[in-house]
């Protein structure tokens, strides 16, 4: 179905993601998982298979790629698109219409299919993928997980033989990932060929027939699923791979608690325009704690964080720091959020200027030491947008240090990161906690939680809040916070 023969490719700008000596064949009905560190060429391989290379991205291509009897480099993209469907990483930017029905029909419209057939096919698609509740909606009002379902449906409606998925889970929560798993299962049952590039591996455990491990653009190893599961944690981490199974991981997180600062939240209720999203929030946190904030989409995590950072006014309740009530302005001065998309919060033309941005008479020495501490000094002249994702995060953290923030909120800092990236983020959070700051992290990443978090706050769907310390003893409870995944985690 997919055949690569001596394929090598290098992008014109000589950037990351070049691939070398790719030789493999994927049979009809097989599901192949591509994994490896960021920049190892997973995405490039998918682009070679769907014709985006060389039709959209240019570069130096050698070798021969045959997909479903088509010679990819000689076939126009729209013809490949009829038989090869691709689901991309970012749910926000892969839909073209504003309403869901048209979006599902988009590929068929391009093909020029008959309108009566399309109407039938849209409904059939929605039924088979169990998303009839999403028909007739405005896509901008959907959650990330729902958007991803529509993106998937749009491909499914065209009924291609081959599905390519590029890190489809990286912006999804646990429940949406489970839905994605079900969809992939359906495709397998239909005998479709699937190629999927992913960092998050656990949900593919029962689906992947073969696993290709890529390193620096080459397929270094090819496993079947059983052999892959036999890799020890150490071997896996050396390869920069995330967990394949959720199991009792090591807990090394003994919080070193500080006397100060102490944050107390009493009877807080948060929401927009007088409408409460979440009420009765009571908690106290001390410097040195790393608190994971869990809950489904819409449970009020981000509303809570925005209130915590002084962006939103609370509907009622108080925040106290060391006993003193904090106003909204004071919270804004003391708290800082590292956003999921860090690009929104970097404004200046160099890392150094970014650190001093908005501060009157910034202290040059302090900027220097902060950059050294975070390993940003070699990049001080670079434009923040030319940095890698992890470096951008660290730049944002540097800003928070310059502004003397005591409380940091990380919003999904590990989405789409490989093991190394995740380990770096957790080290960064650990360092912050060690210097006495309070760290909150909104996350769905079980591996990150067990690695670094000291405490969990879970917002459930019925307005209740659970609060637990992370330790080996509370592990069963912890797994209870991932309800639909319970059996997966415990397997």
């Amino acid at each position: 179905m997919i055949h690569f023969q001596n394929v090598s490719f290098r992008y014109d700008d000589n950037g990351d993601g070049a691939v070398r000596n790719l030789n493999f064949t994927v049979k009809k009905g097989e599901c192949v998982l591509l994994t490896g560190r960021s920049g190892c060429g997973k995405t490039t391989l998918l682009r070679l298979a769907n014709g985006l290379i060389p039709n959209y991205f240019s570069g130096n291509l050698e070798g021969k790629i045959i997909v479903d009897q088509m010679e990819v480099s000689e076939t126009p993209l729209y013809q490949i698109a009829e038989r090869v469907g691709t689901v991309f990483q970012n749910p926000r930017t892969q839909f073209f219409n504003v309403d869901t029905d048209s979006e599902i029909a988009f590929g068929m419209e391009n093909k020029g299919m008959d309108s009566a057939y399309m109407k039938k096919r849209v409904i059939q698609t929605a039924e088979e993928l169990k998303i009839t509740n999403l028909l007739g909606r405005n896509i901008f009002s959907l959650s990330g997980g729902e958007k991803q379902k529509i993106a998937f449906a749009s491909i499914y409606a065209m009924n291609p033989e081959i599905y390519l998925l590029d890190e489809p889970s990286s912006n999804l929560d646990v429940i949406s990932i489970e839905a994605l798993r079900q969809q992939l299962k359906l495709l397998k049952e239909q005998g479709k060929t699937i190629l999927i590039a992913e960092h998050r591996l656990y949900y593919l455990k029962d689906l992947a027939d073969r696993i290709f491990y890529l390193e620096e653009g080459e397929i270094k190893e090819s496993y079947n699923c059983q052999d892959f599961l036999k890799l020890s944690d150490r071997q896996r981490e050396e390869k920069g791979l995330r967990m394949m199974e959720y199991k009792n991981s090591s807990f090394c997180n003994q919080p070193q608690l500080f006397q100060k600062p102490v944050l107390e939240i009493n009877d807080l209720s948060v929401g927009y325009k007088k409408q409460a999203v979440r009420s009765n929030i009571n908690l106290a946190a001390r410097g040195g704690e790393i608190i994971a904030l869990l809950g489904q989409n819409g449970a009020g995590k981000s509303t809570f964080c925005r209130t915590l950072c002084g962006i939103l006014k609370p509907l009622s309740g108080t925040f106290r720091r060391n006993g003193q009530v904090l106003t909204q302005k004071e919270r804004r001065a003391k708290a800082y959020m590292v956003m999921q998309d860090v690009n929104y919060q970097l404004f200046a033309e160099s890392v150094e200027k970014e650190c001093g941005f908005g501060i009157k008479n910034p202290d040059e020495n302090k900027i220097c030491t902060t950059m050294h501490r975070l390993g940003l000094y070699p990049y001080r002249e670079r434009h923040p947008n030319t940095l890698s994702g992890g470096q951008k995060q660290r730049t944002a953290v540097a800003v928070s240090m310059m502004c003397k923030k005591e409380l940091l909120v990380f919003d999904e800092p590990t989405s789409g990161l490989d093991f190394d990236g995740m380990a770096n983020v957790s080290k960064l959070m650990g360092d912050l906690a060690e210097s006495g700051k309070i760290v909150f992290v909104v996350t769905h990443d079980y591996e990150l939680i067990t690695r670094i978090c000291t405490r969990i706050i879970y917002f459930d769907a019925c307005g209740q809040m659970e609060d637990a310390l992370v330790s080996k003893k509370t592990l069963p409870d912890l797994m209870g916070f991932f309800p639909t995944q319970k059996d997966l985690f415990l397997s």
Partner: protein, 234 residues
Amino acid sequence: MKAVKFDPRTKIALLLFCILCTTFSGTLELQLILTFMIAVFGLLAGKYKYAVLGLVCYGVLWGTSQLILQSLTGIWQAMFAAFFALVHKVYPCGMMSGIMIGSTKISEFMVALYRLHMPRSIVIPFAVMMRYVPVVFEDWQYIKDAMKMRDVTPSIKGLFTNPSMTVECVYVPLMMAASKTADELSIASVARGIENPNPRSSLIEIHFCVQDWLAVFVFLAFFMTTLALRGGFI
């Protein structure tokens, strides 16, 4: 009241008439009537809040202009009159575009433009642009949050007290987000065959019906009247 469905081609035609009318009309009264007609069209098309609000704002603007014309003299009058004349020319077209974009689905637009035999090189960028507008609003929300945490006020006031910084804060992340979004959007649409040279079909069928003929006729009649008044025939 159920919204009347207008063909996207009608909306494009009406927008053209709006541009022509504001170009040729001489008096404020005619502009007021035109805006009123646009508001009625907006109500019919189902953009109730937008239509009412648009009309009320224009009413205030119109009243202010009248007041200025009557109470001010000399250089002040000339200055304000020039400014308001420009606003009066732009406002109805802006309002019509708003109704047009708000009440039409992107796929409908694409079919309409293809039926008008527009080339692909115009239709696809146009559709991407329309798709991009709501994204800007989303991006803006995030950027506003980020600015607040850096103690930069995202407001008109901030624009005056600290102009360079405010501008930098808005346009740098917005541009960066824009280039990334545009790229990913094009990739996702190319990978689903948007470049297919065969005729494109549409899930939603569009037809030119009675209501379309009526709307076009009313606006055409108004345009003729405007011309006649200008030429001194009436």
